[in-house]
């Protein structure tokens, strides 16, 4: 999945939270990506996945504690596999993957301009806004804030 409208969004589910990323930073969406856990990596690194000859770092936002205002208790019950989709994003020169469920283009949405709007459990510092779509609040993630917080450098190391 590449290209699309310049201001398009891709929506996905992280646990119970509906989130979205700007389509401009998304390179493709991979189904059942075959993530290999890497011992010694950060807890929010689900592992790496081979993608076009590159070892793509794969991030699980449910495991990234600073992203949440309260613990993600029960959002991925024991034994349930990781989300089946990998959203491959570009951040500067670096490619990374974000795990997500129910990935789809977000075509019908409206901004929630009320500053008192509840972002749910996601911390506002990682958001560039809140949207409403299909009766549900969608947290619009800010890649410029989120990806560096995950430890992703904009330049290859």
């Amino acid at each position: 999945m590449t290209g699309g409208p310049a201001r398009g969004l891709i929506a996905f589910r992280v646990g119970a939270t509906r989130a979205a990323l700007p389509l401009a930073c998304v390179r493709e969406v991979v189904q059942n990506p075959g993530v290999v856990p890497v011992p010694g990596s950060h807890p929010h690194v689900a592992g790496v996945a081979l993608n076009r000859g590159v070892a793509l770092p794969v991030y699980d936002l449910l495991e990234f504690a600073p992203f949440w205002s309260s613990p993600a208790i029960g959002e991925r019950p024991g034994g349930r596999p990781a989300p089946p989709h990998l959203i491959v994003c570009g951040f500067g020169e670096v490619l990374l993957g974000v795990l997500g469920d129910q990935v789809d283009l977000l075509e019908d949405h409206a901004p929630l301009d009320d500053p008192a709007s509840d972002p749910g459990r996601v911390r506002r510092e990682y958001l560039s806004g809140l949207l409403r779509s299909g009766g549900e609040v969608v947290a619009l993630l800010d890649p410029e804030r989120l990806f560096p917080s995950l430890g992703v450098p904009a330049e290859r190391t």
Binding site: G34, V36, V38, P39, G40, S41, H42, P43, V45, V48, A49, L50, G53, V54, A55, P57, V94, G151, V152, P153, T157
Partner: protein, 126 residues
């Protein structure tokens, strides 16, 4: 290719200077408090790969003597299974920023049939 618990990993064959089987080495012994192995009068630091990857050792182990960047280390594995030719260009380096510590156990990833396999970083072990 080696197995560690239920996991399979790759070790660069040219980094393996010796494979020791305790059942065949009369003077082999592990000194647990110092995390060392002694064989033929030589002492080797032991890297506990089972613990690092969250596995428990099987009933028998073989010990790989690896030549790393800073010297020799011994790595117990459950078995050393096969030698496979993997072109260097097929090994994707792991991004350094995913690691929680400077010392890392793995350095690469490559396709091994239907699965992807991690390559041990012999230089980071010693």
């Amino acid at each position: 290719m080696v197995s560690v618990g239920t996991g399979r990993y790759a070790v660069a064959a040219d980094a393996v200077s010796r494979i020791m089987d305790p059942a065949q080495e009369a003077d082999f012994r592990r000194e647990a408090p110092a995390a060392e192995a002694v064989c033929g009068g030589a002492r080797f630091p032991v890297v506990d790969l089972h613990s690092a990857v969250g596995q428990t050792p099987g009933p028998s182990c073989v010990y790989l003597v690896l030549e790393g960047g800073g010297g020799r280390v011994v790595v117990p594995v459950d078995s050393a299974e096969a030698i496979r030719e993997v072109p260097a260009a097929s090994i994707a380096p792991l991004p350094s920023f995913i690691f929680a510590r400077d010392r890392r156990l793995f350095r690469g990833l490559f396709s091994d049939g239907r699965e992807s396999r991690l390559l041990l970083d012999e230089g980071g072990l010693s």
